[in-house]
């Protein structure tokens, strides 16, 4: 009797359990990502993500899906729109690239996960401490470093050589801001002279992607605090920085339109720009002129200019990944992906294809130099030789985390462009008439306007 009962029980168990054996394993987790690495070009990060999905991701049942590749400004706007619940705002993805300034502007930072919940202290010790600090807001590590960048000077060497051949200008002059703007003046005059029939059509020589950084790093390098009580401090160093650039800008040597430097470089409308080292991906070795003729050019990298007598200081930039809180399972999956992504070898492979610096000490110490050796693209070789040089000779500056940062940045940058554009227009309208205001005085007047617009008054 007992035997029969045992058989019955076993058969019932089999009947219940067997269907479970044939069921599909749990559905994969799909993580959505917004990133900036690649924009409209072939994206190195997209390739890495594909690799992850096919290897580690497939093993762990995780699928990382890129739903937007653009630039930090776009993501910045989209993130704030989503966080503020603006109409038509897209839903936040699981992971998005962000600067500290975006996180600082979030109305509710608790929507972001703290990476310390998923990375042990031991694991985090492998990352460059200052990078981790950059990502720490209100004591929580909410921006995970993936790639860092700095600012460098890109020069269209082909154009510059033509210019230098005629005017004797030297690349060495571009090592200081003073030298750079003086070269800009020469360039404007030189290009104007190419079309003697058309007056005042000299081209701009230079543009800066983030004029705010020019002033911030400049003032700090001259020993002055750039911020006071959360607002821009218009002290003597700030004024000096303004005076250095304004003359050349009024004379037309500085590109004052909004947008990234890659635009005017692409159309041959500037010959040099200071931009993030990561912009290298966006600079093309070709210039197309309005008459549809194109010219292959060589772009080289030089160290970011500094003020004469000032400290060799340069902005450290670079965004990291923010993780939006969802479920523990999804958050863990996202962290596993980031862990994979920032493994020293892999991190180095990625960053060197995009003009970034790696984020772990091991990557810096052992992987970076060999990876740089393997670079074949001249542009990249030039870039990395400068980055490594700056790493030796410069001090990296990290901007403070202020809630007012973005507001101050927007105000100063738009003020800079607008006031100096107006001054430029006035200068052009004068048409070189005798007794007309000098570019310098117009520049100073522009500064006054800026101060007014920013609600500040110069001391004394």
């Amino acid at each position: 009797m007992k035997k029969i009962a045992l058989i019955l029980c076993m058969s019932l168990c089999c009947a219940l359990l067997l269907p479970a054996c044939g069921k599909k394993s749990t559905e994969p987790i799909t993580l959505t990502v917004w990133h900036v690495y690649g924009g409209q070009t072939d994206s190195p990060l997209n390739d890495l993500i594909d690799q992850y999905n096919q290897t580690e991701g497939a093993k762990n049942g995780v699928n990382v899906q890129v739903t937007s590749v653009s630039n930090t400004n776009t993501i910045h706007e989209a993130v704030l729109a989503a966080a503020n619940g603006e109409p038509g705002a897209a839903e936040l993805p699981d992971l998005f690239i962000s600067y500290p300034k975006t996180v600082a502007a979030l109305p509710d930072k608790s929507i972001l996960a703290d990476f310390r919940d998923y990375f042990s202290a031991d694991e985090l010790s492998a990352y460059i401490p200052s990078f981790l600090e950059d990502g720490t807001v209100d004591g929580r590590l909410v921006i995970f470093p993936v790639a860092k960048s700095t600012e460098v000077l890109f020069v269209d060497k082909t154009l510059f050589d033509r210019f230098a051949a005629d005017t004797g200008a030297r690349l060495e002059d571009l090592s200081t801001w003073e030298g750079l703007y003086s070269t800009a003046d020469k360039y404007t005059a030189w290009t104007d002279a190419q079309t003697p029939d058309v007056p005042n059509d000299g081209k701009a020589f230079f543009t800066h992607d983030y004029p705010f950084d020019y002033f911030q790093v400049g003032a700090q390098s001259l020993g002055e605090d750039f911020f006071k009580n959360g607002a821009v401090n218009f002290g003597p160093a700030m004024e000096r920085a303004w005076d250095t650039v304004s003359g050349a800008a009024v004379r037309g040597g500085v590109w004052l339109k909004d947008g990234y430097a890659t635009d005017p470089m692409r159309t041959g409308e500037v010959a040099a720009s200071v931009a993030s080292s990561a912009s290298v991906l966006y600079y093309r070795d070709i210039v197309t002129y309005p008459d549809n003729t194109s010219e292959n050019i060589k772009i080289i990298t030089l160290p970011c200019p500094v003020f004469e007598g000032g400290e060799k200081l340069v902005m450290q930039r670079g965004a990291g990944f923010c993780l939006v809180k969802s479920t523990q399972e999804r958050e863990k999956a996202a962290c596993d992906f980031l862990r994979w992504l920032t493994e020293p070898e892999r991190n180095t492979q990625f960053v060197t294809s995009a003009g970034y610096l790696p984020v772990t000490q091991e990557a810096f110490d052992t992987c970076l130099a060999p990876a740089v050796e393997k670079l074949t693209d001249e542009k990249y070789r030039s870039l990395y030789s400068v980055i490594l040089q700056m790493q030796r000779d410069y001090t990296f500056y990290t901007p403070p985390q202020l809630e007012t940062y973005i507001a101050e940045e927007d105000a100063l940058q738009s003020g800079f462009r607008q006031t100096l554009s107006e001054a430029r227009n006035e200068y052009v309208a004068q048409g070189g008439q005798k007794g007309g205001a000098s570019a310098e005085s117009l520049g100073k007047a522009a500064y006054e306007k800026l101060l007014l617009s920013m609600g500040n008054y110069a001391a004394g």
Partner: protein, 530 residues
Amino acid sequence: MKNKLSELRLVLISAKKQNNSLQRRLALYFVSIVLAAFGALVLVLAATGVVSTASRSTRRALSLQQANTASVMNSRFDALEAQGINLSRRLALVLGNMGTSAEALNDDEAAIARTEQTVFEPLYGAMQTADCSGVYFVMNATVNSSAPEAESSRCGVYLRYANVRANNKLNPYVMLFRGMAEVARQNDLELHNRWNLEMNIDNMPGCRAALAGGGKTADYYWTERVHLPDTWEDVILLCVPVRGADGSVMGVCGFELSALYFQLTYPATETEYGPMIAVLAPEEDGAVCTADGISGGDDGLLGDTELLAAGKGEGLATFTAEKTSFVGTAQEMKLPSAPDSAGEQWTLLTLLPKADYEAYARSSRIGPIAASLGFLLVMLAVSFLLSVKYVRPIVSGLEAVQTSGGETPGNTGIAEIDELYRFLRNRAEPGQMTVDGLPAGIKAMFDSFIQHSYTLTDAERTIFLYYIDGVQIQDIPDLIYTSMSTVRKHNRSIYDKLGVAGKDEMMLYIELIRRCGRLQELYDVPPGKK
């Protein structure tokens, strides 16, 4: 097996003769055997998938998904085509108002700049309302006819979204992909990272023919997949000729659907059968060229390979790619192709990875297999139980009946069988009736006869014993030296004392008593009776 069958035969035989309760039990035993056999049959059918519904249900699900996708896709494409035609008319109007002709624009940078600036608004506006990732207008003119590659270079404006999502209408981030940089500056747009001044019409299938305008040009058509030069992106383009009032073609306009946008709009649908992937591609001679088409989100499964349609198996069509196979459904999509294209047929496929389908089919069989296996085991257990409790005793009892050689077998415990055994044993030895086998009434009669025989006188007894020995009545006078009338007088007394009617009855009793083995009792008179 043979034993089992003969066992069953014996049971069948006895069943006919047994009482109702045993019949019921045996019937139950038979039923359990039959059900076990049934369970075995179902198990075989389930295991071999003969009765599987996986194919049917998968086909239904795929058809449903296909129908949904086709419906959505058709309405989206219809809308885009309508909007493309509207855009074309609007551009024709705008250009007509400018008094511009394509030929007049050649080599005139300023005029091209003005024209591009003018067409910007209609293009930008159309882009906002269309379900697309980009919009363009190309004119049959170039800014510098002596520039290298001027032969394939045409001016125009091409706008693309930088932040493509499935639904990004309200926060568009538009970039100028082709067109004069001034247009971007004046409209506060950035240049696309892979911007170029003019479009290369050799990259736009059918464009050259459409711009030429001669012969029969379609009202609109969709191109195959096109790779945007120097980018990581592929797109398909809607192309609508822009005709002037005189019918001549001034340019071609249309919308762009990028592969990324398409993937976001038609993501892989996770179902219980697996991920279902939508593919829109041209088909030629049974081969679907995914490299020339565009697919929805595919979780990395599809890749750019040619899909060869293998025949229908189990009602589902199979599509084999380089590395993976799919099952799926296909239907024709009415998308006009470029006039000079090879007349391919656009096909919409809904695909399910074959591995997922097979896993589903396997798991859907597991249920019936497990259930029928369980049922079979239960029925076997029940029949085993019944056999042990009710059938085996019958059989072993019957076997005992067959094999016993005169020895009294042990009690089988089954009354009917014991009864049967006794009956059969008595039948097997005629003339032999055991004392214990007599019915009680008959035994009493014999006892009475024997007891009364003890009351006979000597002379009567002598004659009685001669009768037992078989002596006839006419011989008795000579044996006891008396007359026949005296013998008759004794006979009458004997019959009265024994309680019989006559000699015949008395002889019958004596015969039966002999068969019972009690004859000796008639001879042996107990002391005290003499």
